[in-house]
Subunit: 157 residues, 12 copies
């Protein structure tokens, strides 16, 4: 069975696997929600925010792929099915329908900040357990926090 890997002791694998799985659904949730805003956006800053959201989607999708494949590598089956993402993923919450640019920038500023807090906890949780996975979580956090800075700066009047 492909899920059985001797790379890590079972206890370590459970902790690391959980950190990766939680990161996966958070990133998939972020990608989907940012796309939703990308499509339903309006306001004077439409073009600029529309493009910025696609850069967030690109970051989220790329790291989701790497994180899921790392989970598989250590023998933990990643779950990125729509229901799993809808249930456990927790990035930005946006209502249905049109979304103003001001609301979108504010919403994602908060959402990515919250995600960063969760990522930092996962970095701590995996410390000493699997340097490779922890390194990937650090790299993911770096990319997310850079988006946070740009959103925060744009959200400051």
């Amino acid at each position: 069975m492909p899920g059985t890997s001797a790379l890590l002791p079972t206890a370590d694998r459970d902790v690391v696997g959980a950190a990766l799985q939680e990161t996966l659904v958070d990133l998939l949730h972020l990608a989907a929600t940012a796309k939703q805003a990308h499509w339903n956006l309006y306001g004077p800053r439409f073009r600029s925010v529309h493009l910025q959201l696609d850069e967030i989607v690109e970051t989220a999708r790329t790291f989701a792929d790497t994180v899921a494949e790392r989970a598989a590598t250590i023998g933990v089956a990643p779950d990125g099915r729509p229901a799993a993402t809808a249930k456990a993923g927790s990035s930005a919450d946006v209502p249905a329908g049109p979304l103003s640019d001001t609301v979108v920038v504010a919403t994602f500023t908060t959402a990515v900040a919250d995600l960063s807090v969760r990522m930092r906890r996962r970095i701590a949780d995996t410390d000493g357990l699997d340097a490779v996975s922890q390194d990937l979580l650090i790299e993911t956090t770096a990319a997310l926090e850079k988006h946070h800075w740009m959103l925060r700066a744009e959200n400051t009047p």
Copy 2:
């Protein structure tokens, strides 16, 4: 309000908008499920099917984007949030955990065939209402059915 567009009469817009919205969540569901299989795959044909699934993901994501923006264009707010996709999208249903290449090829052969049936009904539903949207549905169907042919051929022993 950005959702108000005079491009189509209201009744026509409702029908066309519904076809686009249903297509959107089907494509997002397909993209997510194909990624799930891409990550959890095993079997002697791993590398080949792994790559093929990413081509399906690429098709599904690209057309999802175009379909959602077309909905926005005719004044219907697309809903591609995780919950919407989980609830209404209906492409392949795969269990959690590892998936053998044989099962994956069989599952997606059926799933894409079913999706093609729904797409053809939507092409019929939008006939005479909005040539631009219908043309996009036809183009989407062409791409999906080409994937179906390749899956079907691969699924034939």
Copy 3:
């Protein structure tokens, strides 16, 4: 004589040719006017609208070329000379001199919406007469209406 082509019956060719010729001058007019706004623009959104206008120019020029060559193909000599465009083309009307970003976005939102209405009438007029030309008109309309959506969203406060 190169204009004589047996591809279409004369009556059909006249209708299709007129639709293509009207589309041609509308697109050339749009390209020229969007360039005019691109050069004379001012306002806090300068950079973003400046770039967006060049994307509209690109769309208009590319489809103008295809539409004119399709007219030539069915044996109707396209007329895209400056005087023809100035007289018959009817996209956005902008005054000489500097143009504020707010005015430009509003003006082109209306202009592209009007152009879309004319395109839809031409799609209807050519129905059943020349599937190839009609398909080209549909494709042109799709691109123009996507620009309309983005302008409309940007024009919504």
Copy 4:
């Protein structure tokens, strides 16, 4: 068996399949004959016509591939074997040996015009049966007729 596809009712599939198969051998015949002229050409316009013929080959080969795969998709096995092309394909007929540029331009002007007539009949035949295949036939016709226009213009003294 991979040929069995439920995409279309049998009767419709037969008509659409025939249209695609006839188009396939016509395109393969055109590609081969244009290559033959590309190699055996002479005359003052050698370089220009030599390059133009390769563009026709490129068009013919690309659409032949798409048309054949569409046939396979709807469950009709395409036949592009040398004998099938030699027997049923009917584009330009050129004698063995050197070919002057004047003769080549005239021959292909006529040949592509004839092919266009057959394509238009196939577009009509498939109307209402399979929108995806019909759309592909329209797209193929557009490309062929553009070549016809350029050949016709070049063939006019």
Copy 5:
């Protein structure tokens, strides 16, 4: 107001601005007329002249853009609207309908030669007033005169 720029003394700006504005409409007129010939061309040299005309269009459009932005830079609003181009631009004059390759080459040989004469006068007019604008006019002239040489050589039996 964006048109107010202290880069040049008013008198100098008027002279330089006029030279740029006249160049702008000449280039836009040339681009439009060369496209007209590109679409309506016929004759044994069709392919070669068809491609050459697009190179002239490319030159004319690129320099028109640079010239218009230079005018805006020195505080003179460029006018490239269709009516302005139709009225003041004066490059090649071609009749409606099909155009033989021989006539096209002869017409543009003369037209670009005339344009070169006007460009040289503008280089002289702006001498000592604005080195940057003059340099741009010189560069534009270099490109136009290279086209003139190639047309002239092609126009010589």
Copy 6:
């Protein structure tokens, strides 16, 4: 007449020309048959063999072009018309309809091996007559035999 070239003595030219002409139709036949298999393939190895066949097509088409132009260069008119290929070309023989991956790999393993034998005879036949043509035949053989190795390896259980 373009066919008259003093590059080679007549007797030598006849031998070399025959070798090139036979190679030409063999390569065109191979390209067409490999495309036929590319379209009609089924089986668990579909994707891999489907791609491999297109690489064979690419090799066959590229060398066919070079071989035909070399024939023209030495004053022998190449014949690559559909009937010539159907009659004289002798690569893989495949029945109409769907083809299993196992059969396809076996068929082309044999076919390319046979072709290699014929190529080696042609290399011998042209020895000392025209070093340039012989070099091209050697290069063609190298490419075909590499395909043969990969097919043979894939054909070994």
Copy 7:
């Protein structure tokens, strides 16, 4: 010694060398200050201005390199060390800490305008002394003034 070059008379070289050296530190100062603003920017136009500043940095760095190498070419050692730039360079002056987009656009509009005045004086100073260096100063000015126009337009409410 590499600094000794006979390209220009000593007196001319001193004047031209001074113009190049002053331009060098101005450009290096501009590049550094624009980067400072690029990093410390905030406000609703963050993304757009952030990108625009990097285009200014690119222009300043590229011309600084060319200007410094031209100085070396005429035998004048360019001084672009940090202290030299800090002391003699005089582009935009920005305070430490966060910078609002409105302030940044206004500051750089003024700064680049002032720089343009200095550049025009240097073009005058080098007139008749070294056509190559003067040409480079004109080209540098053209690029800077284009940035000035875009900043000025963006700075106009």
Copy 8:
């Protein structure tokens, strides 16, 4: 002497240098053995495994280069001569002659797993001694373990 570097205390350098040297010969051994399998492979999965092996070679060669240069950087002369690799490198052991795809996938699955164990020990050994080298070992391990996952999945029936 270039080997003398003060970057690290001698004791630390010895430990880190040994970890890098052992990694180097393991990677060179892996690259050579994977190439050997790439050339001697047979079986129905030939094409897929043939390509996969080259991706392993690419990974091994790229990291070998970086690891060797890091050793040189800390003042330890890397030894990647053929004899050193043959003696100390210990990745997959394959017999001479043809290798079936099944055997190859199984062999490399085990070999890369073993290599991963050694890499993890080296990450532990260098902890706290040289963060830069340790980071490189982590990155190398990430790439190797990803290959291990794909091999393992492919090796699961």
Copy 9:
């Protein structure tokens, strides 16, 4: 205010911010000084060292940008203004005027070695405070030390 970020506790942020700020000015100082040497270089190894210095500039500028944006991300305003770099940056010190290749290689060998020592202290200082920033410092050090190795090797007779 964009400087306020809750990513890190204040005390940690101060330490990490100081490490990043010091790194920033060191990198900007290095980039400027390496450019100075690039322009004022002479000696038989001119071309080789000239190119090598630009690679150092590229490394220094790229990491300066990333380091500054990381500082902004954690809420510390980076200061890369010319005066700050001139005052606090401390890489290579080169005199005004021409610089021999031998001197330049020796100077930068020492300078980059010194910079490496400071980087290693900053990696230690930030340990346990911010894994993301520390990771960036490690990556920066890796790139600088690779340059050091190449300079050191080149500096050894």
Copy 10:
């Protein structure tokens, strides 16, 4: 001394070196003369022949470089100085001043045919002496004779 190479026996080296040196000046002469015609060309086929001549220049320059470096490799100093080319090179002879397209095509058809005769003699002369150099002469001849074919075909009315 770098010219002393033990690759070939002296007698062989003299023969092979002479063949390479003669080929070198012939190719340099051809490149220069084709450029001369490229610049002085006129006539209705100007554009087509102008481009074709540059392809001949490209062939001649590329092989001249390879041939000269091969001579250096076997220890024979190549002589491609202007005087050597003017004296010994013997490709097309064109008069000063304007050249009609008809004359140019005829002149180069003859010139490249003559060059081909000399190349074939050199292939014979080097037979059995140096397989590497002979192979290069064969490859050069192949490229030149392909140009001859295209010129000959274009030269046939």
Copy 11:
């Protein structure tokens, strides 16, 4: 006759034409001589100087082409035939046979300096006669003098 152009008064054309013709043969001579050195070079700096010479060749060839086409544009037939270059061109004079790197760098330092002197005289000669040609001469001089600087720096011990 294509040589007759009304762009310039005859007297002016004679002066400008002479400047362009002299520049042409100087550049062709430089390109040929630099290639000669590129092939016959030896010495410890072989690789570096070998590459640098090809950059000089590239500069010389590119400007030769532009200069020759400018001459043709103003109605003066350029003469770049081998004999003309051998007779009138006067760049570096190198003996036959191997050339040491030291000699080559010294020779070309002097040669390009001399060429620069001639270029500056031609810039003066054409002043006020043809701004376009003069601008081209300035641009050519800029490129040559940059090479001179690099050679001079490399030539300084």
Copy 12:
């Protein structure tokens, strides 16, 4: 069994196979040794020789791959395992530890010269046995001897 190929008679295959196998290990040995020198190099010419060695590695690896696949093609299993290379390969012999640039250039000049002698013997050995393999050996020799020339020139004081 994939090793059984009827392409060549057994006796011929043994000779050709031996030539290819010996070439393979020589090339792999050269690639490994050149990498060793690339990493352990020091001296004033470090950068230039460092880059040159990688070009030798690239040549050796590319031809090793082609040679090994040719052996497999004719039915001889290539042996490129580390032990085989260490035992039978015989290119440059370098000691462990740092290597001065002077020693490296001298060592590889001799090594590649020796390799060239062995290659020429293999070209002779395979004459008349397998034109395809012999052609590949000639091509490999051409590339190696070009490296020899450049090393030899660089090795000449």
